[in-house]
Symmetry: C2
Subunit: 401 residues, 2 copies
């Protein structure tokens, strides 16, 4: 039963409002089965009556649509400079958003986790105020997460090693809902996979700052791999015998496409665009300004790094044939300038004709990609099994108890 | 309903016989729901009573088990030297197997398709004789298949271009069941993903002969990508500025790990191991024999090619973190000799500790990998929706009509 409830709910999310008759035809179910399923989803506050639909299957019928307001997923992020959260309802609307600056390198692990827990608690209170229920939290962390041990193995920027982030957070939150922890690149990929868009069901997200990572969504599902380490694109060796990487190896993709590679090529050491004391946004804006002015060194640097982005994207596109390569992080800010070089190398590097249909796109989610993906991941549980959400009458009586 | 029927059926396949009570506990369903589901699966001939199970949940109960014999999937392959088929029942048993030699380069496309159709018809007749029903056919082809157009875009070895293989076969077969066409590397990957083995739910298969390809299974599901072009590993550029590839590009993985790269390194041009008139199995046996005798040139060649296999496998393992890299085709024959070099480069190349848990394994399926995977893929439809299989009473009355 829960399987078909989820089918109906996903269909309404991905394809929009439609009549029971049309749902029955599309899903290969009987009309009476669909009516029962819709009734149950209504009791749980997940769908509601919409307008009247004509002309598809049989007589005109009242449409039903997703009713997003009853449940929320919370996405959270632990970053070296901040902790942040977002709550999205089932319809994808932002219900709450919080961010607190900190310097993770100067704080104990416990202190960082406490601050994130405080933020999650505030977000959850906002969800309750909005009359909704929190169904899960997914937390993104920059680092290697072993999902078989539920452990952050290494978080190089945070300076963390072997931290059981999930267990620590679950202990502090004492929550009734699941608390997942995932690599932030994986969550960012989840955020870029758009329900209902066929070209965004197979997505490769490449995230770049000093480090380079990302994530893969295949057929609408996050690809984590055996132990959860998928998406470590920055350490693919693309230039044997090339530059030494921060990880100790030679020729990693990060050495030719990371922020440092761009800055090395674009500017002298004393150039203000290389001053970490200035905000990254401002420095990238300055690079775009120079490119607009036709500065040859800047243009050549963008072209060179873009070419390497395309070479690595081509390697990955031969392997997984995504509908879109979504550029995120600093790539999203300067990617329009890199696009010709990226597309040239991608097309040249992919065996399938026309790059196998892979498009190059720039993320528009900015620094909220990981938290948005976390919230989307938390909400996936409801689409897998809508019975996780209590019937409204139960919810009310529980409230009275 | 069909969703939960499939859940029960998969559980019995992956975890073995168990009682209704245990199924209910494991799947989070009520006992009465499980009894109804098992009853329906019994009517369709998909499960049957097994022994008595004690000590798990509640009172001892009669176990149920998968009953594989009622339905078969057929896998088929179009190769430059042969067409072949296999029929597997739901339990994975081989019910029929056929192979016909031909030279696809000397025959019209229509003739090759006709010969495959004749083989499929024979296989289907064998399935009927065994008292089973064919639920689908999946055909592997060596080449680029665009799944959005249902078209073989390029089959370089076959010499085919823009052939609508699926439509052609469906027209000839006039079959009531689905006929899928897929890249043979994808089907081989499906064959290596073993139900019930957690390490074989995320699998990367690397197939090598003159060309190099493969496929990815992620979380038990075949990864096809947006247009179906996933798994073209042979054309990842791993050595910029390296050797020219048959595809026209420079530095493709195929140029350093394909059969030709091994033979170039291991033998002079007039060496019989390079004589295509001799069988490949015999030539590879000779290479293994020389390695056993400690021939330094042979050992160095295996080491060199193995190192490149490991470098490419490391790139892919950073991206998708498979539980196993399964070496297939010629790699399976000489892979034990390459293993030290492969594992060294894989461990060095993967950012996650201990290569992220990725093991190197040799395929034991030989040349049947693609057809076996095709049959498994055809059977997946039954696990997704067991109601595809008619109730036995219906089947009988249809037989009488």
């Amino acid at each position: 039963m829960s399987g078909n409830l989820g089918l109906v709910l996903r269909r309404l999310r991905d394809q929009g409002p439609r009549s029971r008759a049309r749902l029955a035809a599309e899903l290969g179910l009987t009309r009476s089965a669909v009516s029962a399923l819709v009734g149950e989803l209504e009791e749980r506050g997940l769908v509601r009556a919409a307008g009247v639909e004509r002309g598809h299957v049989g007589r005109p019928g009242t449409s039903v649509e997703l009713d997003g307001h009853a449940v929320c997923g919370i996405g959270a992020e632990i970053n070296v400079n901040h902790v942040s959260t977002i709550a999205l309802d089932l319809g994808g609307n932002v219900i709450a958003e919080h961010r607190a600056g900190l310097d993770a390198n100067k704080l104990a692990v416990e202190e960082v986790l406490d601050r994130l827990v405080a933020l999650i608690a505030r977000t959850e209170a906002d969800v309750r105020s909005a009359g909704a229920e929190t169904v899960g939290v997914a937390v993104g962390v920059a680092g290697l997460l072993d999902r078989t041990r539920d452990m952050l193995t290494v978080g190089p920027n945070l300076g963390w090693r072997d931290v059981p982030v999930g267990a620590e957070l679950r202990g502090r939150l004492g929550a009734a809902y699941p608390v997942l922890v995932d690599n932030e690149g994986n969550l960012a990929a989840m955020a870029e996979a758009l329900p209902g868009d066929p070209a965004r069901q197979d997505v490769l997200v490449i995230f770049g700052e000093v480090g380079v990572g990302g994530g893969i969504v295949a057929d609408g599902r996050l690809l984590r791999g055996r132990q959860g380490y998928a998406g470590e694109f920055g350490h693919m060796i693309v230039q044997p015998g090339g530059r030494r990487c921060g990880c100790g190896r030679v020729g990693c993709w990060e050495t030719v496409v990371g922020l440092r590679a761009l800055l090395d090529a674009a500017a002298d050491p004393d150039d203000p665009v290389r001053d970490p004391a200035l905000g990254l946004d401002d420095r990238l804006a300055e690079i775009n300004r120079r490119a607009d002015l036709g500065d040859t060194r800047t243009l050549a640097a963008l072209d060179q790094v873009g070419g390497w982005v395309g070479i690595g994207a081509g390697i990955l596109a031969n392997a997984i044939n995504p509908g879109a390569v979504v550029l995120s992080g600093y790539f999203a800010e300067v990617g329009e300038r890199m696009r010709p070089a990226i597309e040239e190398q991608l097309t040249a590097g992919v065996l399938a004709p026309q790059a196998g249909g892979t498009r190059v796109e720039l993320s528009t989610l900015g620094f909220t990609a990981a938290v948005r993906g976390g919230a989307a991941l938390a909400l996936e549980a409801v689409f897998d099994d809508p019975t996780l959400v209590g019937r409204r009458t139960e919810a009310v009586s529980e409230g009275v108890r």
